[in-house]
Symmetry: C2
Subunit: 244 residues, 2 copies
């Protein structure tokens, strides 16, 4: 019995964005592990055990995957988007570091379409020049570090994509982030709110920083801030490749 | 006759990373336009005209796509990776801005697996925390801007992914970039060179900044620099989610 763990990205929601590589791993799996709504995206079939778990138990979930693989299971840990971007891949390696007895387990990371790139594609090409990806949640890092990163990214004139901008337990920080960005980038900078991208509930809204309010974002929203050259062009938002 | 333009990402090389959405667009296309090696990845078939073009003619190629669509063609502009990341999407919008007579053309951007995320997946999870994507080519921006972005990204303690680190016409800048990074991040910071990722020629090498040399990169290489917490764990490289 040789088990394995594949940490797979299901993309932002549309099944047409799931790669054939991920599809093949799901077809070969004996077990699927992940946050409830992501496990729900994998259809039940004979021979497949689904293990949905709640949010905020990433390390337990990761260890569970390693333990099942040690018993010979073929385990797919599912993330939305890309597993390497604010998702389960880092959590599995953290669990592995704490439990080095699993170091010889076969672990593969299978990339997926991450939310910011799906959102950028829907809006046009707002990330067409240098950009940063920042997780605005301060569950795992101090807010001072988020603030420092926002300021440095602004002073480098990066476009920025923000994950986890706002949740019920963190209602205030996104407002503070908007204040910092207005201070660093000015009121005219364009900001795009992409909610539930590629799903039937998709909503894409672009406003200036002056017009942006915290309520425009929730946990299903990825937010993209342009750089100083980002512009509107008809129904599109794009950042030119050239800064000359 | 209603033509359209789809700007599609073919991913880093492995056909198992081409999304079904992109596959469907290629099957519906009458014309495929792009850089020679990317157009070669699309199999010839009756009813499909392939238009390979050389590097550095992105704007001509983009205008050609818009003109063909205006004549009723169903045009797929192919990029490797994701078209929104240092690829053809921004070029098509630049061409559209110069030729607003095409503003009513149907244009869709179809995301793909971009090189840095495929490379990160192969290495482990080096981009598991906040990160930046920087194009090191100074063909379209002054080197001073690249330098400023490297310094700001380092001071924000971002992990970084570098596209186009080095080419025959730009042999020196990557060495300068490494000098700046050593100065800002210290000699022990981990750096991963991922060449021809997901192809049979794939090579993934991780060293410290002290050990890194410009010759480790070429135009088929994407380079990933860790943040201050990035570490080795067995054969993997990963950046923990937590900075606490």
């Amino acid at each position: 019995m040789s088990g394995w763990v594949a940490i797979a990205g299901l993309g932002p929601g549309d099944e047409a964005l799931v790669t054939p590589e991920v599809q093949a791993a799901l077809e070969a799996a004996s077990d699927v592990i992940g946050y409830i709504p992501y496990v729900k995206r994998v259809a039940p079939r004979p021979g497949l055990t689904r293990h949905p778990s709640d949010n905020r138990v990433e390390l337990d979930r990761a260890l569970h995957a390693l333990q099942l693989a040690a018993e010979g299971a073929k385990v797919v840990v599912v993330s939305s988007g890309d597993p390497g971007v604010f998702a389960m891949a880092a959590a599995v390696f953290e669990a592995l570091e704490k439990h080095p007895e699993h170091l010889e387990t076969e672990i593969r990371v299978l990339p997926g379409i991450t939310a910011m790139l799906a959102a950028a594609a829907r809006a046009g090409a707002p990330l067409g020049h240098d950009f940063c990806a920042i997780n605005l949640s301060d569950n795992l890092k101090p807010w001072s570090q988020v603030e420092q990163r926002l300021r440095m990214a602004a002073r480098g004139d990066f476009a920025m994509a923000f994950y986890n901008p706002r949740s019920r337990t963190r209602p205030y920080q996104f407002g503070e982030a908007l204040e910092i960005l207005r201070e660093e980038c000015g009121p005219e900078r364009l900001i795009t709110f992409a909610r539930a991208v590629t799903t039937p509930e998709e909503q894409i809204t672009t406003v200036t920083l002056a017009e942006a309010t915290p309520e425009m974002a929730d946990m299903r929203t990825v937010v993209i801030l342009g750089n100083s050259a980002t512009r509107r062009l008809g129904r599109y938002i794009y950042t030119p490749r050239s800064a000359l």
